[in-house]
């Protein structure tokens, strides 16, 4: 066996081992989805109290639920995380606008 073939075989083995270790860590579980969805819902509840929900947050929450129902927890978790990010942005908007609206007022 040549030295080149041996190196190639070792690299292939290493790739397989890395993938074998990484795959379970990359795939989202139902528990991951539930945690991400709970965080998103909590943030959206806060946005609702501020009377400032976004339609896009609601769309992502619905998409997360639908994907979870179909057993696709990767997609469900990703959508829930997106929903949380959007809800946090809407909270930031509502909070910062409490005073900033005055900048736009016609005087």
């Amino acid at each position: 066996m040549s030295a080149t073939m041996s190196v190639t075989r070792n690299i292939a083995l290493a790739v397989v081992l890395v993938l074998a270790i990484a795959m379970p860590a990359l795939a989202a579980s139902e528990a991951d989805f539930k945690a991400a969805f709970a965080a998103a819902e909590a943030a959206e509840k806060q946005a609702d109290q501020l009377r400032n929900k976004w339609t896009t947050t609601e769309t992502q929450l619905a998409a997360a639920k639908k994907a979870a129902a179909a057993g696709d927890f990767d997609a469900a978790t990703a959508a829930a995380k997106e929903a949380e990010a959007l809800a946090q942005a809407s909270i930031f908007q509502a909070t910062s606008e409490k005073e900033r609206w005055k900048d736009m007022e016609i005087r």
């Binding site: 339609t55 959007l86 809407s90 908007q93 509502a94 007022e105 005087r107």
Partner: protein
């Protein structure tokens, strides 16, 4: 020592007073500034023409509108509303019994502030309360019957100048201020306030549409919109504005929307009622 202290106090007060005055609500000054802003921004637009929304901003559109007015698309709603208005409830009473002057030519006084309740009462709300007080189920606030009834009431008030009162009641002033805050507050994923479109950009295109000026925007309500292929109320207009900025709309006739209508109508005082209107 005492003189120095007094002098310092006077200086602090003199410095604070203008700042405090600037934050004190002053609807009369607001209205003047609001109207002047649009008059200066659009010197060629006749004052009364602001109530015609996008048609006041573009000559070509104005001509189209004049032609459209010969066979106005809201005509059916006015006819239906007239019939509904005259038809007695099961108890024999009519809508007219719920309003001053039997409901004819009163559109310019709405929204009004109810000092007993401490809240703003819009025309749409008054109509549904009239129904409920007479044992009838309320209508949807968005279109159909409500749009027809308000179209008829607006039609009987055409040419009357908007005349919204803010009584000497701190709650009325608070409602006005809340409406103003809502108007200027950015919301939705697109980060738009009502003012983004209707103060900063009237006359500009947003896709195929020409944006209307905020001044006089309530005077044309309700409206027939080609985009809706039908009539819509003030409530419908507020809800769709919110959706277009990717904000979840509030419930129709929520306090926020009622206060917003109060503010927008007050700053249009003096402009004639032109409703029902037609819009692209």
């Amino acid at each position: 020592m005492r003189t120095a202290f007094s002098l310092a106090s006077i200086c602090v007060l003199a410095w604070l007073a203008p700042a405090l005055a600037a934050d004190k609500p002053d609807p009369v000054a607001d209205q003047k500034a609001f109207q002047n802003f649009f008059i200066k921004k659009f010197p060629k637009v006749k004052y009364e023409d602001f109530v015609n929304g996008p048609y006041s901003m573009d000559e070509g559109l104005h001509r189209q509108w004049e032609e459209k007015e010969q066979f106005p698309p809201y005509e059916f709603a006015v006819e239906t509303g007239k019939e509904m208005f005259a038809t007695p409830f099961k108890n024999g009473k009519t809508y007219g019994d719920c309003f001053a002057n039997k409901g004819i030519g009163v559109r310019q006084n709405y929204p009004t502030f109810d000092e007993k309740e401490g809240k703003v009462i819009t025309l749409e709300l008054a109509l549904n309360r009239c129904r409920e007080a007479n044992g009838e189920a309320p209508y949807s606030y968005l279109k159909d019957e409500m749009a027809s009834l308000t179209a008829y009431m607006a039609f009987t008030s055409r040419g009357q100048k908007m005349d919204i009162r803010i009584p000497s009641d701190p709650r009325a002033l608070e409602a006005y201020e809340n409406g103003k805050r809502y108007f200027y507050t950015r919301r939705g994923q697109l980060n738009f306030s009502c003012a983004t479109c209707h103060v900063q950009s009237p006359g500009e295109h947003i896709r195929a549409e020409i944006l209307a000026p905020a001044l006089g925007i309530m005077n044309a309500m309700p409206i027939y919109r080609s985009e809706w292929s039908g009539m819509g109320t003030t409530s419908r207009r507020f809800l769709t504005c919110n959706s277009q900025t990717r904000a979840v709309p509030l419930e129709p006739q929520s306090d926020e929307y009622r206060d917003l209508e109060y503010y927008l109508s007050y700053v249009a005082n003096g402009l004639p009622i032109s409703g029902p209107g037609a819009r692209p």
